[in-house]
């Protein structure tokens, strides 16, 4: 099987760990790669992702059948768009329960869609348990652990049972002075136009974005390579 597209779910059972920032970076990454992107925001109440990327984001819910159909059926639809889900901490468990019951991972696999879960690593017990539970319930999905450096240098590999060879995507620390630009919508890394009208800020932000950008690219290349290897029986 050769992968035709991807669905990436940005997940953590904890609030305020950088999910929406990660979803924004990822959306911008795919846009810059020239792909068409459909992002889904499952956070309740605040439409943060939609404020930053209004043209690409659909506000979604899985609380009723209509919402579930609008989300899941759209995710697996063969419409050429790369899908990104910003899964809030509240719908974390319900989402993965449904995904498991529906056989979501198997379905994406049979349709040649890579299912990737970008999981933000935090040291708490709940997150560690949830990580194990998700990877066992969706065995066909690619678990991609992410470390947000704003929370310190420790990647908590031991807690998550990640070996020294496991690749953890790092969101580098952004200089505090830069944050106000990134955190004020509308702002897109894909269409960066010197937010402060200052070339230095522009360069700094570009540099920061590039660091994550390269890691994303590596991640998708790894997935493609694994798929290629298995399709030639390697």
């Amino acid at each position: 099987m050769l992968l035709r597209n991807s669905i990436t779910i940005v997940a953590s059972p904890r609030p305020r760990v950088g999910k929406t920032l990660l979803a924004r970076l990822l959306t911008d990454f795919h846009l810059r790669e020239g792909r068409s992107v459909a992002a889904f925001d499952l956070n309740v109440g605040n439409a943060t992702l939609a404020q930053f990327l209004p043209e690409h984001v659909t506000q979604s819910t899985i609380n009723d059948l209509k919402g579930q159909m609008a989300l899941f059926d759209r995710l697996i639809a063969d419409d050429g768009a790369t899908k990104i889900v910003d899964l809030g901490h509240a719908p974390f468990e319900p989402f993965f329960t449904l995904a498991h019951q529906f056989g979501f991972a198997g379905e994406t696999h049979s349709r040649g869609i890579a299912l990737v879960i970008l999981y933000l690593l935090t040291p708490d017990h709940t997150s560690v348990e949830a990580y194990r539970s998700v990877s066992s319930r969706l065995p066909e999905a690619v678990m991609a652990p992410v470390h947000n450096e704003i929370f310190g240098v420790s990647q908590h590999r031991g807690r998550y049972g990640l070996t020294i060879n496991a690749i953890v995507i790092r969101i580098p620390l952004l200089a505090p002075a830069m944050r106000k630009y990134v955190e004020t919508p509308p702002f897109s890394f894909a269409e960066l136009q010197s937010p402060g009208g200052d070339v230095d800020i522009d360069i700094e932000l570009q540099h920061w974005f590039r660091q994550t950008y390269l890691q994303f690219r590596e991640l998708y290349l790894r997935i493609l390579l694994t798929d290629l290897k298995s399709s030639i029986g390697f």
Binding site: L65, M69, F72, D73, L98, Q101, F102, G103, F104
Partner: protein, 245 residues
């Protein structure tokens, strides 16, 4: 060689979901690589026939030649399991008929496996039938099925009354069919296909298929729990025991 098995699906009331249970059962055996066939007694046009046109025959239970059809083909067809969807109110009647042609005797002596699926309705009235049917099939393979698929009213059983009937068939086992999302249920009805085909067909909504998949999985786990496959694959144990005694 495994002996043939016959599953009677009945209830003394209409609308309790016999055909639904028959459909899950046909899907279940299909998935377990046991070739099933079915008889639909809703003559002249049966619902089961609509969902499983290839394996279903519509029969008229009052016709002697139709009764013999079940009997005659038991050993001659490839199908190992026969599922008979008995129309509401005809359960006692068909049991009497099967008894008359010596069919129930085969079950009692262990030459065939005979199992009874009694679908319970939400009112207590339908329990009256249990005593009656148990008399025919013996109490070995008796399954009481509580069907919650389109749960509109809850089961209003008086526990005491329920137990008093339950006691008469001491080995009866309970099977619970859980609720299925209404819209998913409706879509399968509209599609007019077996549940497994609905789940596998990517043309339908993934979410609706997902609901059916999960629900069917739960139903099958119930069937696994009561060991239906073992029931049909067991060798003629009773024959052996009889020969030894």
């Amino acid at each position: 060689m495994a002996k043939p098995a016959v599953f009677l699906i009945g209830a003394d009331k209409g609308g309790v979901g016999k055909t639904t249970v028959a459909r899950t059962l046909l899907d279940y055996f299909g998935a377990r690589h046991v070739l099933p066939r079915a008889f639909d007694t809703e003559s002249p046009r049966g619902t089961l026939k609509r969902f499983y046109p290839d394996v279903t025959e519509v029969m008229d239970v009052t016709s002697a030649s139709d009764q013999m059809k079940i009997f005659d083909t038991l050993n001659s067809v490839d199908a190992k399991v026969t599922v008979i969807d008995v129309r509401a109110g005809e359960l006692s009647f068909i049991l009497q008929a099967l008894s008359d042609i010596g069919f129930l005797e085969l079950g009692r002596t262990g030459q065939i496996t005979l199992a009874m699926f009694h679908i319970l309705g939400p009112s207590i009235a339908s329990l009256e039938e249990i005593a009656e049917t148990a008399r025919f099939v013996g109490d070995a393979n008796y399954f009481l099925v509580k069907n919650h698929i389109n749960e509109t009213s809850f089961f209003e059983w008086d526990p005491e009354t329920y137990k008093s009937y339950f006691k008469r068939i001491k080995d009866a086992q309970e099977i619970n069919i859980p609720k299925l999302n209404e819209m998913a249920c409706e879509q399968v009805e509209l599609a007019g296909v077996p549940y497994v085909s609905f789940v596998d067909n990517k043309k339908y909504s993934f979410v609706l298929r997902g609901y059916v998949r999960h629900w069917l999985g739960q139903v099958w786990r119930e069937f696994d729990r009561v060991k239906l496959v073992e029931l049909i694959s067991q060798k003629s144990e009773r024959n052996i025991r009889q020969a030894a005694s």
